[in-house]
C-alpha cells in the first residue's frame, strides 16, 4: 500500500481509538473514584465502617479484574445492546472498555486514598468536619495527584485494550493493524499503526505527568 492509501486509514483509526478511549476514560474516572472511595470509606477503619459492604465491593472489583478482556467483550454483548442499542462500532466498544477499566482504576483510587496522611483526617475530625466534608475536602482533594496519575495509567491501558475491541468491529487503530497488517501482510501498515500508538501513549503519559506535577505540593 502506498502512503496515500495508508494515511486516511491511520487518521480514521486514530479518531476512532481516541473516541473509544477518551469516553471510556471519562466514564471510568467518575465510576472508579466513586467505587474506590466507597471501598475506603466502608473499610473497618474508614469514615463509615460497613465491613459487609466493603467485602462485597472488594469481591465485585476482584471478579471484574479477573475476567480477561476478550471474554468480557463477548460476555457483555447483551448489556452493550441494552445500553447503546448496538453491539458493533466505536460507541459499542466504549461499554466493555469502561466496565473493564472501572475495577482496575477503583483499586488505584483506593491505594491513593489510603496514602492520605491519617493525621490530616484526624485534624479534620478535631475541627468538627462532617464525614462528607472529610471525604470531599480532605481525602479526594489530598489524593488528587495520585488519582490523576492512576487515571493516566488507566488511559494508557485502555489504548491497549481498544485494539482488541476491533475484534467486535469496534474500529480504531487495533482494527486496522489486524485487518491490514496481520491478515493482508501489509507490514508497512502494521509499523505505521504501532508508531501512532506509541506516539499516542507518549503524549498521554507526558500530559498526565505534567498535570500531576502541577497538582502535587508535597
Amino acid at each position: 500500500m502506498t502512503w496515500d492509501e495508508i494515511w486516511p486509514l491511520l487518521r480514521q483509526g486514530t479518531v476512532e481509538t481516541l473516541q473509544m478511549t477518551v469516553w471510556a476514560t471519562m466514564i471510568t474516572a467518575v465510576a472508579g473514584v466513586l467505587l474506590g472511595l466507597a471501598l475506603v470509606v466502608t473499610d473497618r477503619r474508614g469514615l463509615a465502617p460497613l465491613p459487609a459492604v466493603h467485602h462485597l465491593l472488594g469481591l465485585v472489583v476482584n471478579v471484574g479484574r479477573s475476567i480477561p478482556f476478550i471474554i468480557l467483550l463477548v460476555a457483555l454483548l447483551p448489556l452493550t445492546r441494552a445500553l447503546v442499542g448496538t453491539t458493533i462500532g466505536t460507541t459499542a466498544a466504549i461499554v466493555p472498555l469502561a466496565i473493564s477499566a472501572i475495577p482496575f482504576y477503583a483499586r488505584l483510587v483506593e491505594t491513593s486514598l489510603r496514602e492520605v496522611d491519617p493525621g490530616v483526617v484526624d485534624a479534620a475530625h478535631a475541627m468538627g468536619a462532617s464525614r462528607v466534608q472529610i471525604a470531599g475536602k480532605v481525602l479526594l482533594r489530598e489524593a488528587r495527584p495520585g488519582l490523576l496519575a492512576g487515571l493516566t495509567v488507566t488511559f494508557v491501558a485502555l489504548i491497549g485494550y481498544s485494539a482488541m475491541a476491533g475484534a467486535i468491529g469496534g474500529g480504531g487503530l487495533g482494527d486496522i493493524a489486524i485487518r491490514y497488517g496481520y491478515q493482508r501482510f501489509e507490514n508497512s501498515v502494521m509499523v505505521a499503526v504501532v508508531a501512532v500508538i506509541v506516539v499516542l501513549v507518549q503524549i498521554v503519559q507526558l500530559l498526565g505527568d505534567r498535570l500531576v506535577r502541577r497538582l502535587s505540593h508535597r
Binding site: D117, G119, V120, D122, A123, A124, H125, A126, M127, G128, A129, S130, Q133, K137, V138, R141, E142, R144, L215, H217, R218
Partner: protein
C-alpha cells in the same frame, strides 16, 4: 473550664486488653496552661483525645466550658469541637492547600461565608506572624512555621479551649521555645485555656501554670507547678532537679532543701554554717526559672545524725524553705 471525672478507656483487640486511661480526674481552670507530663504509653495522648471525643471513653464524664460532651448528638458534638482548638505533633496540614487555604479550612467547615473568610484568615495569619507566607504550601515552610499554621487554624473558630498534642515534640529546641512563647502570648491575649500533653519537662517548666504527671494510665500527682515543686517527694521536682540517689554516710544528715522566690536570694547555707558553727557540705543542686519565679533545690550534708540536727532543720524551715531529710542507714538498724 475542663472537668474530667473518673475517665477510663480500654483498648481491646486480638485477646489483648490495654487500659490506656485508668480512672483519671482532672480539672483545668479557665485561663491556665495545664500540662500533662508522662512517658510515651502513659496514656496522656488518649486522655487528650478524649477531651474532644476523638476517642470515646468507656466510662467517666467530660465537661468542656460547662457542656457535658458525652451527652451530645453527632451534630452537636461537631459544633462543640469547632469551639475546641487542637494542635498536633505532626501538624496535620493539608499538603494540597496553601498556608492561607489551610487556615481557611475550618472556616469552610463551619460554613463561614467566603468574604468573611478571607478577612479572618488575614487576621489569624497576622496573629501567628505568617502573613508573608500566606501563599506558600506546607512543603515549602519549616516545622516551626507549620506549627504556627496549625495554631492559626486551631484558633479560627475563636475557641475558648486549646488542646495541644505534643505540639513541640517534632521541633528543635529554639523553635520549641518560640512556639511555647507564642502559646503563652496567645493565652494572655485571647484568654485561652490550654491543655497540653508532653513528654518534655522543659515544656512544663516554661509555660505551664499547673501540671499532672501520668504513669500507666493514672495521674500520680497534680497541682500548680509551684505547689508540686515545693511538695516533698514530688516527682516533678525530682525530674526538674535531678539529683543522684542519696548516699548517706553514717553520722551525717543529708537534706534536700527546696527554695523559691526571695528565699532563693538569701544565703541560707552560710547562715546555717555560721549560726551553728558547723561545716555544711554541698552535694548537688540546681536553680531553675519556673513561671517567672526562681525555684531551686540543693542537697546538703550536715555533720551528726538527724536527731542531733533538729535545731538546724528548724532553722531552715523557719527561713521558708522546704526541707526533706534522707533517712540514714543507721536509723533503719535502730528501728
Amino acid at each position: 473550664m475542663i472537668q474530667i471525672e473518673k475517665l477510663r478507656k480500654t483498648y481491646r483487640g486480638r485477646g489483648r486488653e490495654l487500659t490506656a486511661v485508668d480512672g483519671v480526674d482532672l480539672s483545668v481552670r479557665e485561663g491556665e496552661i495545664f500540662g500533662v507530663l508522662g512517658r510515651s504509653g502513659a496514656g496522656k495522648s488518649t486522655l487528650l483525645r478524649c477531651v474532644n471525643l476523638l476517642e470515646r471513653p468507656d466510662e467517666g464524664r467530660i465537661e468542656v466550658a460547662g457542656r457535658d460532651l458525652l451527652a451530645l448528638s453527632g451534630g452537636e458534638l461537631r459544633a462543640a469541637r469547632q469551639g475546641i482548638g487542637m494542635i498536633h505533633q505532626h501538624f496535620g496540614l493539608l499538603s494540597s492547600r496553601t498556608v492561607a487555604g489551610n487556615v481557611a479550612f475550618p472556616l469552610e467547615v463551619m460554613g463561614v461565608p467566603r468574604a468573611e473568610r478571607a478577612a479572618r484568615v488575614d487576621e489569624l495569619l497576622d496573629l501567628v506572624g505568617l502573613t508573608e507566607h500566606a501563599g506558600a504550601y506546607p512543603a515549602q515552610i519549616s516545622g516551626g512555621q507549620k506549627q504556627r499554621v496549625g495554631i492559626a487554624r486551631a484558633l479560627a473558630g475563636r475557641p475558648k479551649v486549646l488542646l495541644s498534642d505534643e505540639a513541640t515534640s517534632a521541633l528543635d529546641p529554639e523553635t520549641t521555645a518560640s512556639i511555647l512563647a507564642l502559646l503563652r502570648d496567645l493565652r494572655d491575649r485571647l484568654g485561652l485555656t490550654v491543655l497540653l500533653i508532653t513528654h518534655e519537662m522543659d515544656v512544663v517548666k516554661r509555660i505551664c501554670d499547673s501540671a499532672a504527671i501520668m504513669r500507666d494510665g493514672r495521674v500520680v500527682e497534680s497541682g500548680t507547678v509551684r505547689e508540686l515543686l515545693l511538695r516533698p517527694g514530688s516527682e516533678l521536682a525530682r525530674d526538674l532537679f535531678p539529683l543522684p540517689a542519696a548516699d548517706v554516710r553514717p553520722g551525717t544528715t543529708v537534706v534536700d532543701v527546696t527554695f523559691e522566690g526571695d528565699a532563693a536570694d538569701r544565703p541560707f547555707v552560710s547562715s546555717l554554717a555560721r549560726t551553728y558553727a558547723i561545716d555544711v557540705n554541698i552535694l548537688g543542686g540546681a536553680v531553675e526559672e519556673v513561671g517567672g519565679t526562681r525555684i531551686g533545690r540543693l542537697r546538703i550534708e550536715l555533720p551528726g545524725d538527724p536527731d542531733l540536727n533538729a535545731a538546724q532543720l528548724a532553722h531552715l524551715r523557719e527561713a521558708g524553705l522546704t526541707v526533706e531529710v534522707h533517712p540514714s542507714p543507721g536509723t533503719e538498724v535502730a528501728a
